[in-house]
Symmetry: D2
Subunit: 289 residues, 4 copies
């Protein structure tokens, strides 16, 4: 069994790290807010370390799942970050949803230090993390993937090696772009049906089996109709993710009219106090008569 | 077996009528362009009539599947339309995607004449019509539904009685509103992935199983990547349908920002010559680098 | 002096008719709600008639300014409409903002009856009507324009003959399309400035003289900043006008993404109770922090 | 007369620096591409220096007008940047359109070094710079403004002190947000008019005097109608500016649906090869029938 380090025990990181411990690995954790690390060690064993660097010493592999680019930089490249402390030949796997730019930068910095680096954003949400059924979209060398895959199998049902460094993050952007329109249109459709006084269950029965179907339609129609939003994937995260995708599109020449507009509508949802609610709360900005 | 009439032997009407004949009913057909009616009778038997009125005389039930509101009015209420010729107690089922307003008007006119009327737009496309697996969303009285259901079972896998007159059409609008964003976002996502030089098959493998999934993503990702659009649901029809939905929203107070914007983008697709191509051809207006 | 008829004494029609009376013409008025016609006659003289037809008998010219297509049809072509009653060679001038289609239809029907017809939508608002400084964009024959121009000079500062029947209405659509984006962007800019805690007067001073300037920015910045909306051009009218333009674009092949989106945002404004307020009230749907 | 330094002799910087020299000041210039600096000195006198630091030594005031945030950082804070070389009490005025964040950062860094700092983005374009009639929107302390104002008067017709550090840049964002919708709607309106076969000059005559008027409508209607775009304010710059504004809105809580959508449409214009053309070239993406 391997000696592993996990940085960032948030909603996603904590259950992922648990699956790694459950698979028999020796796991050292670090979390900025120490109490979370203590609670995790109490529940799942292993050790905690006071800094990413301390946590990473001697590890075979270091995993991270923090917030955004700046946070990822903080736990890797800045003072007390893990990169300087990692041993040659060790593996670094990042599950944060971040930019392709930082993924590529970490790959370069890692190469200089003899590290194997994989950018590995996930989809499946907190429930997928808890159940160990995440989809992981990966960027990195074949060698890095060969090292990472057996470890990631502890918590995923699908691992796809897309391409070189950054390809995992770019694929996650594709994922979020798809969501933007499907979610908004499901919201528009639901409100339209409500305003038309249709029986929402019957409408769902009639339209959910065909071309109108989307994950968001199938999984959020009922909850939207009940004004229930306190779960799922947060608007704040979605704005971060769309901002990353829109920024990337500036350099690859793609146009994203719906994603850009959805991003603004999520901004309106934030203003309505929905920042930490599921993105289906964007329905709240649509008039109900 | 019943004595049935079918008005409008287009891409949808012809196979639906065939399933009715195949179920053993005695079918009289009418088509504006007579040659199509002749070809249909040659292939499937039955009789043809020169006008909707002539076709409807003595029928137990009359079905229609024509283009839009004006066409529906032409085959029902105007000179030589079927309504004046139908016998008391007969059933009228309309499969056209039209406005809820005309559906309600036909219900009222039908009531005056002692007819049972169902607005019954379908989803499933031409392939669903051929296979006899359409989803039908219905508006009308219980009595009308009781008469229509056994007949419609010949070509559908799902029949949902949503509510009173117009409820079928309104539900079809919900369906098209859902499609608007899912389709556009799948197109944006595909172009973004192309511009980012990602392996499209691998991206599909990574994102198609989760929250990014939609019918359009699952069924059009590959065809869009092959620039193949000569099949499916035509842009011209989609514009008609979105125009109906946007118009309805004016009266029920719903806001449809994505549907309205999608409608304009389909207009841009029409200008690129995609009017009769599948709506996934909207991807053509997105820059490819 | 001429014998004139005016149909529709609303916010626009009443002052226009007053200018015609003030120019010395003999004016007979009709208004659906009789009380308004009585009040007008009390104030400005002339006669009132119980129907458009009765009002139009023997008139040299008939003017109308009603709501939308259906209303225009009601006062012209339907039972008791003016067309049947007008004498040969008489002039019909319509100031309603309506579709180009009905304008062309009236031109055709008018021709059959030997009437001269001008579609003549206006801009300048109620204040322009009161002041007699409207801009009039006209469609019709040269002969019809020659007859209409001297009469319209009583209440306009600019009269432009754009082209044949319908060209006036189509030009009014151009006008409303321009407004759509300028208004929304002025609203976005104002809210952005408020949220950034900038001194709004100084911002106005800095940006109003250059490329950011628009009529809406110049005339609504201050009122928006004071949450004052009870004046000006109503959201309900704007939705009607945008709907006409979007419909027209379906047939002339233009794409109107901003106008279509603005139309939906005005729908959201209506849901906030702004239907009868100035269109700058669309700022209300933008978050203020 | 003062000893001045000018960093960045581009389309805007060169004429601004010329006005300063013309006002009798002793001007030292720096330009990354040395040839431009040589040409400027040949034409207008003064001296050139090989680095921003060298250029700034002993100057009473340093002006800059470079590309974007990163460029501004390069000429100020990085190695050979001017900040380290400037004498205590000297003034720094930046005319770059950049983020409010870097403006505030320069103000803080400047304060530490005893410098007076003004963020002073301009509007008026290259022609305004040539003519010396720029509008300048300023952020900084009263003391810094007192020092900057007499110098800036050499090339501006309007100088507004909006507020503290960053307020100039934030006001420039307000300016660009206003432009986004006015420009796009003028483009939609023009194409609509073309597709409707209207006489464009007459339409302009009819609509340009009222509520449809905007700077872009007044100044770009004719050029768009002639497909002339090789002048004015470049699409590439506009994308940078909108990106800054959209980013700022993320933190101040404003929603910018039109600006965000316009940004994407400018991206489509870039893909059509319009990056260096005037932003009115966005009309090219609209179908012409
Ligand atoms: N939630 C979801 O459904 C999904 C989330 N993701 C992505 O996964 C990532 C994590 O999300 P989630 O777990 O929900 O987020 P949480 O907010 O629950 O957790 C974030 C974790 O990152 C740590 N962290 C953040 N910033 C820093 C920093 N500067 N230095 C050190 N540690 C830091 C936090 O530490 P502390 O405890 O001290 O705050 C915490 O452990 C994000 O990129 C998100 O977009 C991807 C798919 C789904
Ligand atoms: N195609 C699809 O995938 C789907 C289509 N629909 C809807 O089904 C309806 C029919 O579509 P589809 O079959 O594809 O269309 P087609 O164009 O293939 O057929 C239209 C039929 O209507 C007839 N028709 C049209 N106008 C008139 C009129 N004024 N008077 C008499 N007959 C008329 C046509 O006659 P003629 O032969 O003389 O032209 C033809 O038989 C539409 O409302 C469409 O939106 C719904 C779901 C999916
Ligand atoms: N208000 C403005 O700033 C501008 C308005 N316009 C356009 O001018 C037109 C009139 O606007 P405005 O005067 O403000 O509207 P108002 O609502 O004030 O007046 C409408 C007038 O039309 C009459 N009317 C409406 N429907 C019918 C009908 N079916 N039969 C008979 N009479 C009818 C009304 O009669 P009753 O009194 O019985 O209701 C009333 O006299 C509209 O098309 C509008 O878009 C154009 C530019 C500016």
């Amino acid at each position: 069994m391997a000696k592993l380090t996990f940085l960032g025990l948030g909603a996603m990181g904590a259950p992922i790290a648990r699956h790694l411990a459950g698979a028999g690995h020796d796991v050292t954790v670090y979390n900025r807010t120490r109490a979370k690390a203590e609670a995790w060690v109490d529940a799942h064993g292993g050790r905690l370390a006071p800094t990413p660097a301390a946590a990473a010493e001697d590890a075979d592999a270091v995993f991270s799942c923090v917030g955004a680019d700046g946070d990822l930089e903080a736990v890797t490249l800045r003072k007390d970050g893990c990169f300087a402390a990692m041993k040659k030949g060790a593996l670094f796997v990042d599950h944060t949803t971040a930019s392709a730019k930082i993924a590529r930068q970490l790959a370069v910095e890692g190469k200089d230090r003899g590290l194997l680096v994989v950018d590995a954003p996930v989809s499946g949400g907190q429930s997928g993390a808890e159940a160990g059924t995440l989809s992981i979209m990966c960027g990195g060398s074949d060698k890095a993937m060969a090292a990472a895959t057996p470890l990631m199998q502890a918590y995923s049902s699908r691992i796809v090696h897309i391409g070189g460094p950054g390809a995992g993050q770019t694929t996650k952007m594709v994922n979020q772009i798809c969501i933007a329109g499907a979610m908004q249109s499901a919201a528009e459709a639901l409100r339209f049906a409500q305003n038309a006084d249709l029986d929402l269950d019957k409408v769902f029965e009639a339209v959910s089996g065909g071309a109108a179907a989307s994950w968001y339609m199938l999984n959020r129609w009922k909850t939207m109709s009940e004004d229930s939003f306190d779960f799922g994937f947060a608007v704040d995260w979605m704005r971060k993710d769309l901002s990353i995708a829109i920024e990337e599109a500036r350099s690859n020449g793609a146009a994203l009219p719906f994603a850009a507009l959805a991003d603004q509508f999520y901004g309106e949802a934030q203003a309505l106090g929905c920042g930490r609610l599921d993105i289906s709360s964007v329905v709240k900005r649509l008039p109900k008569t």
